[in-house]
């Protein structure tokens, strides 16, 4: 390949990738754009204003939905991480009868269409006469997050050296102490990755939440879904813009952290 062909292909590649990224960010861009619109309708840009960023906080339902989303996300992530990490370590360390079955079962929530998971939980709650609310929502989120945590942590575990645990026990640490002082600190990056994944899944979820939310525990996506039929006011756009901003900052922060960790020369 001569120089010209290389340049051409580089140009085409960059162009293609850029177009795709534009495609990916178009809807987001338009929402952000209209968050500054003076008009109440997301139709034509009439003037620039920041008022919606203030109005947003006065929208009780919106704030309540945001709060619910946060509560559900944090709670479900904590529970999934706890249960999932323990399971990943246990499955890595021990061989037992039925391990293959547990493994297969773990993949069901991953593979199955979300709508099936949603309606099955709805039916389940119904027959047990459990009222739909934040609790049912959190339980549902844990159910679809946890397998991802197990799989993520387990894949990070594959390089783990068991002789480290033997060394710890040899030096006097009980199994619990070994877990706390040796195992967990070493697999912490894997756990963090699992947590990030669980958080993403929870924040992004629409379908399962749709079926397992109660009237009082409306989360952000459900709130917006309902509003789309009647008309979405720009204060929602403002909130979304802020969320995107926060997400961006968190992502930069994490990347910074990762970069620093790899420089420290840790295992």
């Amino acid at each position: 390949m001569n120089k010209h062909t290389k340049q051409l292909s580089k140009f085409l590649s960059t162009g293609f990738v850029t177009l795709i990224y534009i495609f990916l960010y178009l809807p987001i861009a338009i929402i952000v754009f209209f968050s500054f619109n003076t008009s109440k309708l997301n139709v034509v840009f009439q003037g620039f204003t920041l008022k919606w960023y203030g109005v947003m906080f006065q929208n009780g339902d919106l704030m309540s939905a945001l709060k619910n989303t946060a509560i559900v996300a944090v709670s479900s992530v904590i529970i999934s991480i706890f249960i999932g990490t323990l399971a990943a370590i246990g499955m890595f360390r021990y061989q037992f009868r039925g391990k293959g079955i547990v493994d297969s079962f773990l993949y069901i929530p991953i593979v199955i269409p979300e709508i099936v998971m949603g309606i099955s939980l709805l039916a389940f709650y119904h027959i047990l006469n459990i009222n739909l609310g934040l609790t049912t929502l959190i339980l549902a989120h844990v159910t679809f997050s946890m397998p991802y945590v197990v799989v993520t942590v387990r894949s990070r575990l594959s390089g783990y050296d068991m002789s480290l645990e033997e060394a710890a026990m040899d030096l006097g640490a009980t199994r619990l102490h070994t877990l706390r002082r040796i195992t967990l600190p070493i697999i912490a990056p894997g756990i963090l990755a699992g947590a990030m994944l669980a958080l993403t899944l929870s924040l992004d979820d629409v379908i399962v939440s749709f079926f397992t939310t109660g009237v009082d525990s409306v989360t952000l996506p459900i709130y917006i879904f309902n509003k789309v039929k009647t008309g979405v006011s720009p204060d929602i756009n403002a909130l979304i813009t802020l969320i995107i901003l926060v997400t961006l900052l968190i992502m930069l922060f994490i990347r910074n952290l990762e970069a620093r960790n790899s420089n420290k020369g840790q295992a």
Binding site: S13, F16, V17, I20, Y21, F23, L24, Y25, L26, P27, I28, I30, I31, L86, A87, I89, G90, M91, F92, R93, Y94, R97, G100, V102, F105, I108, P113, E114, I115, V116, M117, I119, S120, L121, A123, F124, A140, T143, M146, Y148, V150, R154, S155, S158, Y160, M162, S163, T200, D204, D205, V206, I207, F210, L220, I224, V228, V232, I240, I244, M251
Partner: protein, 304 residues
């Protein structure tokens, strides 16, 4: 294929122990660690699915409850041409979405995988970033863009390219755009992972043996990334069948897919048994697809 027995026996003394009874000192920690997950799966996955299976054979009650009388009606109803048409359209849209994602996604993943180390991280993060905003919100963005008085129409009109607004929203086309948009990362990530893992030496060997870049791609790169392609396709196709909110928001009443159908049974129509039967059908379909996937060498690890 199983990822569970990777550590060599030297590192894992228990690996050599046959499946005889475990000493209590090992059984207790094992139960404590794996027990919660197993319990959770039984209660929140196995039990609900079993229940759904059971009510798929039941009748709908007058006021929307479930009447316990065993019958196959729900499954027979599925063969009604009305519903068959819905399945057909759903599968067509799912297939088209998958193909589009693949055609756009493969080159995209390829280019990123070949990028410099520094850029790779940024580019990947840029794909993941939209994810953190709920997919529903992003779908709403498409409504703003595509509707009759939406951004596209406004721009096209102001550039005098059209005389009256195009009907973009509430069409199957819009639904497809929404599906491709939402599921695109699910295609890109497995593809990227598969392409990235390619040993450069293989490509150099092919070049060394006389294959020009294009031939190398067809004869070496593509075949070796087939697992990634499979994983990506599975991860796009199956969800498409269930993403009712995209067809709801972007297709309106004009687009009823399997997902919408099921949703309606559980909400408006209050025919839970029928909805259950449809769900079971969806599950069976998923299982069949997974079997096909595994038959062609797909592995569960690629799907995450």
């Amino acid at each position: 294929m199983s990822s569970t027995t990777t550590a060599p026996a030297v590192l894992r003394p228990e690996a050599n122990t046959p499946k005889k009874r475990m000493p209590l000192s090992q059984l207790v920690p094992l139960l404590l660690m794996v027990g919660p997950v197993v319990l959770w799966l039984l209660i929140f996955v196995a039990a609900p699915l079993m229940y759904v299976f059971v009510i798929s054979f039941m009748k709908k009650g007058t006021y929307g409850g479930v009447v316990m009388s065993f019958n196959f009606e729900n499954y027979l109803r599925i063969f009604d041409p009305l519903y068959l048409r819905i399945f057909l359209v759903s599968i067509i849209i799912a297939t088209a979405t998958t193909l589009l994602c693949l055609i756009l996604g493969y080159p995209f993943a390829y280019i990123i995988a070949r990028a410099s180390k520094r850029n790779k991280g940024i580019l990947l993060s840029l794909i993941m970033l939209p994810f953190w905003t709920n997919s529903l919100i992003r779908t709403y963005g498409w409504i703003i863009l595509l509707r009759t008085n939406g951004t596209f129409n406004t721009l096209l009109a102001s550039a005098n390219l059209i005389s009256h607004p195009l009907q973009m929203l509430y069409t199957n086309g819009a639904v497809m755009v929404g599906m491709v948009y939402t599921l695109f990362p699910f295609m890109v990530l497995p593809l990227y992972s598969s392409i990235e893992k390619l040993d450069r030496c293989l490509l150099e060997a092919a070049n060394d043996l006389g294959a020009k870049p294009r031939r190398t791609f067809w004869r070496v790169t593509l075949p070796l990334t087939v697992p990634g392609i499979f994983a990506g396709c599975i991860q796009v196709f199956i969800p498409t069948l269930g993403y009712f909110f995209i067809s709801d928001l972007l297709g309106g009443g004009n687009s009823v897919l399997v997902g919408n159908l099921i949703r309606n049974q559980f909400l408006a129509a209050r025919d839970w048994p029928f909805g259950a039967a449809l769900s079971i059908l969806l599950i069976v379909f998923t299982i069949v697809l997974m079997r096909v996937y595994k038959h062609f060498g797909g592995s569960l690890e690629n799907i995450t």
